[in-house]
Amino acid sequence: MATRLEGVTVTTGGWRRSHSALRLAVDAARQTLERTGRTPDQIPLLIYTGLFRDRNLGEPALAPMIQEDLGANPEDPHSGRRGTFSFDISNGGGGVLSALEVADRFLRAGTVDVVLVVSSDANPGHGLAPGFPFDPAGGAVLCTRSDGPGGLGAFSWATDPDDGSSFRATVGERTGSNVLTIHHATDYAERAGRVAAAAVQRLFDQESLKPIDVDVVVASPNDDGFRQVFGDEVGIEDERIVSAGARLHTVSFLAGLETAVTSGRLARSRKALFVCASAGVTAGAVLFTP
């Protein structure tokens, strides 16, 4: 059994849509379904991994709203149909990788055949995030179950806890109103690179692999400092690393994946490595065989 990835899509905020993480997510999800020839009612499980959303909404999860706007079995239970279950997973910039791990497990168990993973970030609007540093973007990928070999392999995670000292996003009272504040220390990229390298090294040890065995690395965040530290620590030269979207947060990995797909580098590779680092500092890695 293999978990395949199909129809990876990244949408960016146009002038009308630059302030709605919900719309960006729905657009990306819809395009992914169109690319894969699926209809929304064929999605039994929808997982959203975005962080910065309209009005910093805390409840409900954004996934049900995406499900409703997408038209994925939003109605009350009735005969002859199956419902859709949706929820959010948050793991900062590595949320998509966590969602892929959860999706992979549900697919392996045979609970579902398809999982739609969606992410997006945008300025919450209403003046709630002065100096918001990320570009509005949405992304989606369809995880499908295949009987063939390949697909996603084992996941590996590493953490070097810093209690958010190198990167944190908080919503709190400042000058009389609750605003989103993002703290990004100059050493974050370096720390993220080291933790990502630790996750990959553990994965290589588990799988008895060497850096040379990997043809392409899709890495997030897209930061020169991160790539340099990560590449040096693992022993993978920069030419093999694909990243995209310098001002993206949770969508960054999907942007890199889309670039790897559209350039043909993923299809040409025998073995690919996906790696995401995020605040915490936490990093995850997984092997992918196209």
Partner: protein, 406 residues
């Protein structure tokens, strides 16, 4: 959308026909719509069975539950006396909430989660270093008072605080169904043997929403009325691979009826500390009462059980009136009732959001009302609208860890 009863009746007939006479056709249809496995094709719920065949042969069990309750109590009379406007609302009569626990300023979502996790582990032989996964499911992510930490995720901080240094961590958000969604994920991983132990944890420091609502509620029609029922709590649940795969979690099933996704929304307040929540309680209750019996029936059918086989139903704690009304509909629709009265704790803890099932479960275990072999149904009703069921059998070890022998 039609009404519930006719649809339910038709659903029953179709279900019996499809599963009884045309299983191959139904299975093919289900597969075309992205579903495989052993679940009945006409099932609306996304269901996990235990054991789940070759792909997921193991069984997960609930090994322990823990909670943290702030010592301070605020009665409904006291809260309503603090409202800015003269509301004339008899909230206690309306909701059955007599009092709720409220943090005194030293607790927040994070500290409540950590305390609950420590309490949970104290009921097991596990140490934090034994945890493979820590999933934090708090809706509120308040740390250092009323500052919400969106990133890093709270799971990293909780794992670090309790010493779960080797655990994989991530957060799940699914409103008041968050913790049970976490159980749904852990059940999946444990059944496949991917992990042995996982901790689902949550801390809800939500009394600030009640304080904010007290400034704005004018009358019984206010959409912030439900905020006045909220109480603070932390909760944790440890799920592990059942030794010898003895019965533990038998079925988990969830769905999101997303056309109701906007019936309850919460976000940070613009000009007050903390957050505000706006709920169309009546519409939410109507949808929940209409759909829960159908979905509970599906979960029971998947487990091969009747409602009379259930010993304890632990619903999400919103109000005594809503819980009893909902249970009456379940009894009527399913033609029977559980062995014990439906569990109600909202009267003394209020609605503690994602922690409510676990907080109530601890009450039942500590009081010795849950006995070894009892079948328990945790029923999630959450903004989204999420409806879910976790069916599990309480075993000797779980009951004993709360001081009660068989």
């Amino acid at each position: 959308m039609g009404t519930c009863s006719p649809r339910h009746g038709v659903g029953d007939r179709v279900h019996r026909t499809v599963s009884g006479l045309l299983p191959l056709v139904a299975r093919a249809l289900a597969k075309d719509r992205g579903f495989v496995g052993t679940v009945a094709p006409s099932q609306w719920l996304l269901v996990e069975h235990s054991p789940g065949g070759d792909a997921a042969p193991g069984v997960a069990r609930i090994a322990a539950v823990g909670r943290a309750l702030p010592p301070a109590r605020v009665s409904t009379d006291e809260l309503m006396a603090s409202t800015r406007h003269r509301t004339r609302i008899d909230l206690e009569r309306l909701t059955g909430v007599h009092e709720r626990r409220v943090g005194d300023g030293t607790d927040d979502s994070f500290t409540l989660a950590v305390k609950a996790a420590v309490d949970c582990l104290a009921h097991t032989s596990y140490g934090p270093e034994d945890l493979d996964v820590v999933i934090s499911c708090s809706i509120t992510k308040f740390r250092d008072g009323l500052t919400q930490w969106l990133d890093p995720p709270m799971s990293v901080a909780v794992a670090q605080a309790i010493g779960a240094t080797s655990a994989t961590t991530f957060d799940v958000s699914n409103a008041c169904a968050g913790m049970l969604t976490g159980v749904f994920i852990l059940n999946d991983w444990i059944r496949q043997g991917a992990i042995r132990t996982g901790l689902v944890v949550s801390g809800e420091f939500i009394s600030s929403l009640a304080r904010n609502a007290a400034r704005h509620v004018r009358n019984i029609m206010s959409r912030e009325l439900a905020s006045l029922t909220l109480g603070d709590a932390g909760a944790a649940m440890l799920v592990e691979r059942s030794p010898d795969d003895k019965p533990g979690i038998t079925v988990t099933g969830f769905t999101t009826i997303a056309e109701h996704s906007r019936l309850c929304v919460a976000y940070p307040s613009s000009h007050e500390p903390g957050a505000r929540m706006f709920t169309r309680s009546q519409a939410l209750q109507v949808a929940a009462i209409r759909d829960t019996p159908i979905l509970l029936r599906e979960a029971l059918e998947a487990a091969g059980l009747e409602i009379e086989d259930i010993d304890h139903v632990v619903p999400h704690q919103t109000s005594t009136r809503a819980i009893r009304k909902g249970m009456a509909h379940v009894t009527q629709a399913l033609g029977g009732e559980p062995t014990h009265p439906v569990v109600v704790t909202v009267d003394h803890y209020g609605n503690t959001a994602s922690t409510s099932h676990t907080v109530a479960l601890v009450d039942e275990l500590e009081a010795g009302r849950i006995r070894p072999g009892d079948t328990v149904a945790l029923v999630a009703l959450a903004s989204g609208l999420v409806i879910g069921v976790v069916l599990f059998r309480a075993d000797e070890n779980l009951v004993q860890s709360y001081g009660h022998a068989s």
